[in-house]
Assembly symmetry: C3
Homo-oligomer: 483 residues x 3
């Protein structure tokens, strides 16, 4: 039942239909938000106080993460570098323009219009990050058509979940550990469960890295690493909250990184370092600090969270990923369950602890800004008292710490459930015929979807020896290198 994998009709048709739909929806529904609307400017407007200057620096950093960081990181396969970078580029671009619309309806819709500013783009890039994380689970065995379909379905489900969790359950999750990382992870696992390919459990001849692809992937890691503080702090409150988010993210990544080196060496048979650990496990700390990133958890807690997340992530790669593949039909190609799932769970638990331990003694009155749902409700005399100290404080729900913790737990379960079910359904759709899914044999191979330059063949010569000379070369190689 090997179908055609030509993109000649499928991809353009899908893009064309999407563009027509988007043009109609953008034309009818999207207008400028007040900060981008010339008509809203008057002599009371100070141009330098435009929201652009608060949001754009973080947006620019996240752009580098999404397009360069993820792109390079996903290009770690030796014969799949084009696909890794290019499908990331396509999927990200498509996901963002689609998320602007879908999130727009939920979050930025009033007076019959979606109001567009840089903050919408920033939110859309977070939605896009969700899709790209899920993509990691199925890297190498999906066509660009399948990836666009995945983005098409994942973005609305994510936007609904985000809206329900933030508006109805009302949780605190500044770094997106629950909404971004857990959602993306379990959605991706759902998809890859449906796309299970038994033959790949035995390994695939092209499932390998090269010297250059490992370096490229590490560059991706480094770009993600250096800008992760921007990612985790982009959507916090301005001021001290954002300041703490930067500090915690840096500390978490930092301890996570040296821990990853230690674990990589200690569990390697010959006491050497493994590039895959350095490319992935070093980043675990960035996720693990997420849910409590803007809270007063103290610097040492961020440091410790980095170590914990890294350790869980490392052992996940070592034991859990093979187990899931062999016993649960879940082939998690990039190990997103380790880097986003386990760390996301730890982060969520840490967030709950931080909520339970938060006191006015530590936070001062601004506790009711950070944990906005704990602020007294409208009409409460305590609210007025607090508003004298913090003029902009909005009325909350008067929740206690314990209540808020329960809501966080509810949010975790709802998010995981929604994403897993959504992933299963999306995987089912992606398995439909006409999606140009690669055959098992053609997985992890750029040549399926790209015109490749002539030296690609030479590269290929290595693994599928055809001439006698090459066989000799191969054998001499195998004697000098044990991988």
């Amino acid at each position: 039942m090997r179908g055609s994998t030509s993109l000649q009709v499928r991809l353009p048709a899908l893009v064309l239909v999407s563009e027509v739909v988007m043009i109609v929806l953008y034309a009818v529904f999207v207008t400028y938000d007040d900060n981008a609307n010339a008509k809203m400017q008057n002599n009371a407007t100070n141009p330098m106080e435009n929201s652009l200057y608060r949001d754009y620096p973080y947006f620019a950093d996240v752009q580098v993460m999404i397009f360069v960081g993820f792109g390079c990181l996903l290009a770690f396969f030796r014969f799949y570098g084009f696909s890794g970078m290019v499908f990331n580029f396509l999927t990200a671009t498509f996901a963002i323009q689609w998320a602007i619309l879908v999130q727009g309806f939920f979050q930025f819709y009033y007076a019959g219009k979606i109001h567009l500013g840089v903050v919408n783009l920033l939110n859309a890039e977070f939605a896009c990050a969700v899709v790209l994380i899920s993509f990691g689970a199925v890297l190498g065995k999906t066509s660009p058509v399948q990836l666009l379909v995945m983005a098409l379905l994942e973005i609305p489900l994510f936007s609904v979940t985000e809206w329900v969790v933030l508006k109805y359950i009302r949780i605190t999750d500044a770094g997106g550990s629950i909404l971004i990382h857990l959602f993306a992870c379990y959605f991706g696992l759902g998809v890859t469960f449906m796309l299970y390919r038994p033959s790949l459990n035995k390994g695939h001849s092209k499932e390998m890295t090269s010297y250059q692809s490992d370096i490229l992937s590490l560059m991706g890691t480094l770009f993600l690493w250096v800008f992760w503080p921007s990612f985790n702090s982009a959507l916090t409150s301005k001021g001290d909250d954002q300041h703490r988010a930067v500090l915690h993210t840096f500390l978490g990544l930092s301890s996570s990184t040296i821990t990853a080196f230690a674990l990589s060496a200690v569990f390697n048979k010959r006491g050497k370092l493994t590039m895959a650990d350095i490319q992935n496990v070093t980043l675990a700390g960035g996720v693990t600090v997420g849910a409590s990133v803007d809270m007063m958890i103290s610097p040492v807690a961020a440091y410790a969270l980095g170590i914990m997340g890294c350790t869980a992530c490392f052992f996940g790669y070592k034991y859990l990923t093979p187990f899931l593949a062999n016993h649960m039909r879940i082939q998690d190609q990039c190990g997103i369950h380790n880097l986003h799932g386990l760390t996301g769970l730890i982060s969520s638990l840490a967030g709950i602890c931080a909520i339970l331990l938060a006191t006015e003694e530590t936070y001062g009155p601004s506790m009711y800004q950070i944990f906005s749902h704990r602020a007294p409700p409208e009409g409460d005399p305590k609210l007025q008292e607090l508003q004298r100290l913090i003029p902009g404080l909005k009325p909350g729900l008067g929740r206690t710490g314990q209540e808020q913790a329960l809501y966080q737990v509810a949010a975790i379960f709802s998010t995981v459930a929604a994403s897993a079910v959504g992933g299963l359904l999306t995987g089912w759709v992606m398995k439909l015929p006409f999606m140009a899914a690669p055959s098992d044999e053609d997985c992890f191979d750029d040549e399926l979807f790209f015109d490749v330059p002539s030296d690609f063949a030479r590269v290929e010569g290595l693994k599928t020896p055809t001439s006698f000379d090459e066989k000799i070369q191969m054998s001499s190689m195998n004697t000098t290198v044990e991988t």
Copy 2:
């Protein structure tokens, strides 16, 4: 008539003379602008309101585009990666320091001095972008000496044109579609017309990419892509104008990118993707939104412009570039006429439409800030009325939309004419002897101007088989890959 291509005397002599001239000119003419002058600070100066903080973030982003983005993008040839990145580095550096002086005389000269601040560097980087775009037309067939001469001549001509168009014709062109992209394109075409090499129309054995060079070039594309909103918005008015410029650029690039994927697949014989399309055509939207980037064109218009620009650019690569090479003696190596010329023309037309359609109803009174030449002239009572609403409004020329549109048309024609003629003359100078121009055979080859590492030979072995074994390898390759 094959001359020497040694750089031993020529390049140092040119650099030395330039440096002596620059030192004299900088010493005599360049001083600090008020924001960088310690003497101008007093107790009324707030350090955080220094212009540095408004300009530097955009400057930093443009730096990455110029040096990393362009550098990688131009390194797409397999045997010309050193040259692409390094000549870009040299030419850019030289162009910027020269542009600081030349633009300085036209735009920042008063009280007998050029006043230097970061805004001058930003302007100079735009002038530098002009040179680098033109460089794209002659990539692979020019020596660094020729490139410096090109920068030496193009910068003054660009600065004069810019000054005449902005000061006398007075146009609106925030993203530089006319002044940057059209100028650079037609100048480059003029140069390449003069440097015509008939033998290269049959192709050149080294005119090919490699797996790594394609990835490197794509990284360049991604860096240009992520920071393009900064490029297009760097010189707009602050506030809502800049905000819109960011939004439109992002949307234009975004729609342009997915369109490029669709077109690449549909016009490929085997329904595969072509890296050259993804490296270049995806960026077309960034140019296309340029001329109207800060106007109230509505988000959907930016989206539609991206699709239009991308389509024109794609077909330009497919049909126009070969036509120009075969019938017009114009060998446009990187296809700058597609990515900057056609898109620049569409952008200019869109700008004119946006000017004609602009009303006070849409823009409010700030229309007279964006279209500053339409503001009432000094003394007009309407001006005073508007100045009550917008305190900083400067008197304009009282032009109507139609008048302004005609001036835009005049600017387009003047710019194209000036740049084409200037390009022809510059190409003539670059063809003079002693410019170390490479022979036809040595084009696209790093070895001509670089000490190359020992594995460069191995790479070369591939295309010029010398030993029997290599011939076998070659033939086995040709059977597996069709490029």
Copy 3:
């Protein structure tokens, strides 16, 4: 006496001990600074005036320099790319978290706590840059264990020196030419003197670049180049001082770059360009403007400093580095004495000249802000007069220019002495057994500390020909390329 180089026990043990120590110290001593402390916010606090927004943009740029810029630059060896990038990553991360503590005790300690904000991270990244520069001297011949030990010892010595020089000698050195570049250089030379390996003076078969590694290294150079203005200006006073720092750094780099091209061509036997010059010598200007980067030295002086620094650096590489290796037992692998030592000395001298030439006529009253030690001491009536003009002016030491110049000289000598002695001692420690130091033969080889992908062998085939075919290939190569 060839010891084991397995990292299985050593590296994890060192990391584990460090982490335990850090957790204790962070727990006991580190708290948030006021800008990151929720409790310090009240209705008088404007979130947008948080110090985060002044420091974070520069921090983000420096992050890219440290992790991506240095990482790629140090990956220039053909068989040592993993090690260059990865050891840089490990060493940098470790150095920063350690520097946060050590510098914290000296600079940010009060009320029994180290107060942590983004400004501490920024300072720690500067300390980290010191370690990474020193690393350059011993690249290729050290284990990660040795590098961590180096960071462990260098950071405290640097922090003490910094504290003594800034608090007691009190110098002006905004770009860190003395404290960062001279310290790092002479420390590194001390270390490499102790780690002298006579056999490496004859060259090593793996001490070579490849086409890809040269390109990767150049990317590192470009990232350092574009963000160097942020590095040099990150710790200056805000406002015009920082503005000048950006301008001078750009001009210095710019003239340095074109000079490097000229010198590279003129001293190459065949008039070609040498990648090593372009990767390193181009950056000399950034260091050379350092000590006077925020002063009113005039733009032309920055331009001239770039040329001088570049020239010294170039001839250093050509003549001094071989001399040091052959006659002084100093094997300076990356030539840090040229790029940081010679340029640092020139910069220090230029700083002294700038101090001697500074007058109130040029600077206005803000001279006493830039040269804060020249401000009149507490109680001086001139101080009160100046404080009317510059409200925030702090009392100084009433030094004259000549006095300040002498203090600068004292600082230079103390820094060089402290760093050289410290480097020697540190080198002695690094030579102890159990540090997993590579044997001479295993230097410059990723395989010693990494699991390498299978194509690493193929790469290796080139230099240690084993089969007849490969020997033929080798010989045909040697005829076409002379390196």
